[in-house]
């Protein structure tokens, strides 16, 4: 299975992406994507795909979702001009405020959409995985809202570093299952959720939180998160008087990034995804999947993954639980292969510095995940003075206080 695209293939696939023709009917984004799942789950995926086809773009579903996004999530979220950062960086900086969405991150856009879908396709209960806990919180809240029981799988390592979210998930009525297997982070939580799903493929709805996994998840999550980019695009035109020169988003599995980028891929905008550079460039020292990974199959999808020569998936390291993942959504793999989106990384310390700067200059405590995007944008502004920059602020940083208290604030 070759993944190196010729220039001609890349151009055709990018056109197809821009024209809304990807994924294809087999769930492929060019060579990437697909559906690599156990036989027990094939009928469940078929049902899910049929449900997505029937409901996602139906007028009654759209009306119901719109109402929830407006009245419960609090959309549209603001686009904030950042005057002091702009001055400090020598750029024009605009911030798309997903931190202002209900439950504090973009994850709610997807969670409420899928919870409504779960209800429509007759699921009896919902399961979800979570890394940073934001998707767990969003799933718990969305399930409470639509009246479905919810069980959240969370790695034991993540439960410790994102303790405030564990309590929030429980208070929102969901059950939290500590995952002690594998790497005890997001990847192990997804494995464990899949193991639960096969025990009752008819009754369970798996509310996957990122644009990863087997078809139709990468598509479904992108469609539900594209509200970020669609709103931001219009807001830039209205408030800034034009589109940005460059847009930045952090990338773990890549749901907020695909949500911001997808509505912008047909525009003349530099798109830059920022992965977790962790503590160094060595295998296992970071979660920079697209920067250093190779093609393979992980958790249902043919995509770029961090693996050794034997095809064993490698553990990752990042200060941010939400980016600490060995794979990435297949559409990002395609956008990288076509050259449309550039993927770079920021290290733990750079993210921490960016977080402190944003707090001090604009009064926003952003999530550690999101801070990676700010770190990369600051570097870009340095190299490219005078540009108009849009940054996807995917979530707020309150959940990171247990981690942040280990690092004394350097900016006073």
């Amino acid at each position: 299975m070759s993944t190196l695209l010729t220039a001609e293939e890349a151009r055709k696939l990018l056109d197809a992406a821009i024209n809304g023709n990807l994924p294809d009917e087999r769930g492929r984004f060019g060579p990437f994507g697909g559906r690599y799942v156990s036989e027990t789950l094939v009928p469940a995926f078929d049902r899910l795909e049929a449900g997505v086809k029937e409901h996602l773009h139906s007028s009654s579903f759209k009306a119901e979702l719109q109402k929830e996004l407006r009245e419960w999530v609090g959309r549209p979220t603001a686009l904030s001009f950042a005057p002091r950062l702009s001055e400090a960086w020598g750029a024009e900086v605009w911030i798309k405020r997903e931190d202002l969405a209900h439950t504090g991150a973009h994850k709610i856009n997807n969670a409420i959409g899928q919870a409504l879908l779960a209800k429509r396709i007759g699921a009896k209960r919902v399961i979800a995985e979570t890394g940073a806990g934001q998707h767990g919180v969003a799933s718990a809240a969305a399930c409470a809202r639509v009246g479905l029981p919810c069980r959240v799988f969370m790695g034991a390592v993540d439960m410790e570093r994102q303790a405030p979210n564990v309590d929030r998930i429980r208070r929102l009525g969901a059950e939290v299952i500590a995952v002690e297997t594998g790497d005890k982070t997001l990847r192990a939580a997804i494995d464990e959720a899949m193991r639960e799903w096969v025990t009752d493929p008819d009754g369970i709805y798996y509310l996957l939180g990122s644009a990863v996994g087997a078809h139709p998840y990468p598509y479904l999550v992108r469609e539900l998160q594209s509200v970020i980019g669609a709103e931001a695009r219009q807001q830039m035109l209205d408030q800034a008087g034009g589109l940005p020169d460059a847009a930045f988003a952090c990338v773990g599995g890549g749901s907020n990034a695909i949500g911001l980028f997808y509505p912008l891929i047909g525009d003349d905008i530099e798109l830059i995804g920022v992965e977790a550079g962790g503590i160094g460039d060595g295998l296992g020292e970071n979660a920079a999947t697209l920067a250093t990974g190779t093609p393979g199959v992980l958790q249902g999808s043919y995509t770029i993954i961090l693996q050794d020569d034997d095809g064993q998936v490698q553990e990752t390291q990042s200060i941010s639980a939400g980016l600490d993942y060995s794979g990435v959504g297949p559409e990002h793999a395609l956008l990288q292969a076509t050259g449309r989106v550039k993927y770079i990384s920021a290290r733990d310390n750079e993210a921490l510095e960016a977080l402190e700067e944003l707090c001090a200059m604009e009064g926003m405590l952003t999530a550690l995940e999101t801070s990676h995007a700010f770190a990369a944008a600051r570097e870009y502004a340095k190299q490219n003075p005078g540009k108009r920059i849009l940054i996807g602020n995917s979530g707020r940083g309150d959940k990171d206080m247990p981690t942040l208290t280990k690092y004394p604030a350097r900016i006073r």
């Binding site: 036989e39 009928p43 693996q307 034997d310």
Partner: protein
């Protein structure tokens, strides 16, 4: 006779002698890589076909026992290449046909053509790939079948009847009938097994072997009423884990 037909005939031979065929599963190199061949020979002296598990970092279809064995084997350096080297070293010494159970990614990393070449040379006649559904399997299947090797399809109680037929037709070696909706290592067989296994057997022209949740002689006897063979995985891995000789355990099963 092609390689995958040798799997069928080994199972049929057991049935002809009045037994349910036994397909033991071991995680390669577990608990100690140095004991792999000894364990394999011991298991193959009782088993009609032996299933060798390739350890993987994300064993999504497996319960705690096989996850744990997989993790330990990886820690001790077991890889697909090492497994083939070990098997080559005892070529011709093991009579039972071997099949490999592997998640897709280690096979992708190895390369399908190289995989099929090495497998044929090492006496591995079939592959079971739990995260490779029929719709995605064409490429691997073609590489295997070009050498007469078989891609064994799994069917489950959740598989609809029209799909069951397609999977049974596509399967080579045997049809792997998963007894439960769940992961490996379950503690008991479902009570409505008869209808399901009878249905699978009626669709298949090659032997059907049942797996998941088979731990004791009564389980082997239960599935043996309806299908040709029984696959014993987690229960055997537990025996290996305790350091006991697997032979008496397997002999007591049929």
């Amino acid at each position: 006779m092609s390689a995958h037909e040798k799997i069928c005939s080994a199972i049929s031979a057991a049935n002809d002698s009045g037994r349910t065929a036994l397909v033991p599963f071991i995680t390669a190199g577990y608990p100690e890589p140095k004991d792999f061949i000894t364990t394999l020979k011991s298991v193959a002296s009782v088993g009609d076909v032996v299933e060798i598990g390739i350890p993987f970092s994300d064993p999504m279809a497996d319960g705690m026992t096989i996850q744990r064995s997989s993790f330990v084997a990886l820690q001790k350096g077991v890889s697909l290449k090492w497994i083939f080297d070990e098997l080559d070293s005892v070529r011709g010494e093991i009579e039972a046909p071997l099949v490999m159970m592997s998640y897709l990614n280690p096979l992708l990393a190895f390369g399908y053509e190289a995989l099929a070449d090495r497998a044929l040379g090492a006496g591995v006649y079939g592959f079971i790939v739990p995260d490779l559904p029929y719709e995605e399997c064409a490429e691997l299947r073609a590489a295997l079948e070009a050498r007469g090797l078989g891609l064994i399809q799994l069917v489950t109680p959740a598989t609809p009847e029209d799909r069951l037929k397609i999977l049974c037709d596509a399967s080579r070696g045997f049809v792997y009938a998963v007894t439960i909706t769940g992961i490996t290592g379950g503690s008991e067989l479902p009570i409505d097994l008869a209808d399901y296994l009878t249905k699978v057997a009626s669709h298949s022209t090659i032997p059907v072997c049942a797996g998941f949740g088979i731990r004791e002689a009564k389980d082997v006897a239960a599935v043996g009423q309806y299908v040709a063979g029984a696959i014993v995985g987690s229960a055997l891995v537990e025996v290996l884990e305790s350091g006991e000789d697997p032979k008496p355990f397997l002999e007591a099963l049929t």
